[in-house]
Assembly symmetry: none
Homo-oligomer: 215 residues x 4
DNA sequence: GATGAATGAGACTTCATTCAT
DNA sequence: CATGAATGAAGTCTCATTCAT
């Protein structure tokens, strides 16, 4: 074993970047699962298999840790949105693709919804976030804007459709179904969390958006 | 037992009822504002201007109090839904009315959303609720079902529209806009909480639903 | 055993005033012994044989508890000063009595010095105290002023003696000897804490003040 | 070993000495400002602009660091006292000079008082100091002894004046005024920290000591 | 000599809850 | 019915100190 290798392996315990990240991942899980107030620093430390003190070493306090998690969550989804390739598609297909992306992202990253929610529950308390959030303009939002415009140019989409409203509508349709899955399943007496039910929901969402847009 | 005595007992009972209710109202506010974990029994007692011990006297513990608040919230919205008069309307107008009702109810009762959310955050923890929730079938849901059916009969609405999906879609469109108002305003760099913005949202929601439904 | 008696005895555990006071006494000891930063809430609770939580129930936090202790310390010494009876004495005797009082009070209440010291270490941090402290005018100071004046009238005391300066001088002579007893004993290679040494100190202090005052 | 190498080692040693000293200075400030228990190792490192680990490298632990600061404080004042030139003066003038020196030293080195105080608060805890402190006999004390003796010989000073008592008295008069400046200013409703007030204090102190000594 | 990363013990404080009247 | 007093468990955060390079 070469010196380099050895030191890099032993580094495991002394890698600041890695430790910071391990904490961030653990915190994301905990905050998503329990909300800000329900989250426990102890549990985060446990999840991260790191000393509790380190959390404060890297993140000052619970609030700041939450901020960091929130920002990372935004950054993550923005990054995923970057990968969307819609240029060659026809507007209707592109819209379907956007809806599908949103749906699958939420499905695969349920923490995102939970954390977004927590953040909004405490509104005023996370004021600093604002600045950073605004700067991170959503690529998906931009794509939606372009696709909409293109469709309207072609006369395929209604002229009065607003990208912001539509963005919120798509997110809301997906979010509400997933976030309140538990209550909704109870109310409607049907398990909405099966793969089949989820597929149906996606179809419905596409239908709604495209039905609304078509002239 | 003299009349006087009896009436003083009735007074007490009325007081008891009133106290219970005062607590419930205070708890609803607190839970809505801070979520389940962020809510403080002390603060509820303060809001209610009643002794903390009374809360335990009437509601056993925090969890049960939350249950009671949740049930009341459901009962409230169900009751409001009862008042909906759609019988004489044409299906499209009826749908618009339903969307409008949902929107205005959420606007006027923001606690409802917040509490629903809290409940879903803790999923497994509020298992007992299930029973009661199911029993309280939503009148609005029933109306939606009927209106949809009628519209489909008349050939005015697409045949594949499902009331459950649509219900969730309407709720989601309204919910997401309102619950994440803070973050969305930041991201889009526009204040979404003005009356004007709210009116626009309602128009959009009606457009979406009716655009989707029309054949 | 009468009901009254019984309840008043059992009251022991439910007497707010007494609990508050027990805490205050315990806190005084702890703060005196360890200073503000060295003091431990746990130890105060232990000393008071009361639940730690009660300390916060009655005093909000450590800082406020210290404030309360400080104010009580001032109140105590002021009260002790009230008992001084100098009216009938000749000025020189009265002065001696004042010096003696100061000396014995410090000797009997060593916490007073320690707490005064802690307060001054943190200067800016206990700003609120100012108001209350000023209001509590020192009776001893007033007596000193009068005795000085009387002695000056009689031509027994030098005319330029200022009561404030003298007050500080008396306090300082007593304080420094007692507060730094440990270091001074080490430096001078003599135990300054024996009764004999203490008596000698008192004589010296009287000599200094009267020697200074006599014309 | 080449000259170059050697000199680089000397550089290191000089650096080491400098680092040690930087830490000591920073620690003195911190201990003076916050007391032993209030002092923070982190803050000392910050003040010194040096790594925290170095503090432990040079001083073992907080306690030992405090010891070092304390000893340096003693050494400093002893050194300053060395410079006193009283041989040619008449005893009364010499006494005035001694009082003045004490006053100005305390004024210029307020940390000294604060640290002395901290040390005495913890009495038993700094036992080791004793040895070293005793060895460092105070030059000022020695001068005071001599001046007193000379004055007594000349019949200018009272015969029963004891140098130890007088030393403590002088220190106490100065100390109490300065250390409790904050509280005293509040109690007497006058700012005792102005230059004018300080000058008055010095005059008073000289008056007291000389008034006491003169036969 | 110097430093960033890591830690265990323990500090202050908070919270839901119960006691006793 | 109503309430002030009391509590144990636990939560966030701090601190002196050590590890590993």
């Amino acid at each position: 074993m070469s010196k380099l290798r050895k030191s890099s392996i032993e580094d495991k315990q002394r890698d600041a970047e890695r430790s910071r990240n391990t904490i961030l991942v653990a915190a994301k899980q905990e905050f998503a699962l329990a909300g800000f107030d329900g989250a426990r620093i102890d549990r985060i430390a446990e999840r991260a298999a790191l000393n509790k003190r380190l959390i404060y070493y890297y993140f000052t306090d619970k609030e700041a840790l939450f901020q960091a998690v929130l920002e990372e969550a935004y950054a993550d989804i923005r990054q995923a949105e970057q990968a969307l390739e819609l240029a060659s598609m026809q507007p209707p297909q592109a819209i379907a693709k956007l809806v599908e992306f949103t749906w699958h992202y939420y499905l695969a990253n349920p923490e995102f919804l939970s954390i977004l929610n927590s953040a909004n529950l405490h509104k005023g308390r996370h004021l600093e976030e604002e600045g950073r959030v605004k700067r991170l303009n959503s690529p998906l939002m931009q794509l939606l804007r372009e696709v909409l415009h293109k469709g309207q140019q072609q006369g395929a989409f209604r002229a009065d459709a607003d990208p912001i409203q539509l963005y919120i509508t798509i997110a809301g349709m997906a979010y509400f179904y997933l976030a309140n899955n538990y209550t909704l399943s109870a109310v409607f007496g049907a398990d909405l969390s099966t793969t089949h039910a989820q597929d149906e929901r996606l179809v419905h969402m596409c239908d709604v958006v495209l039905g609304y847009l078509k002239v």
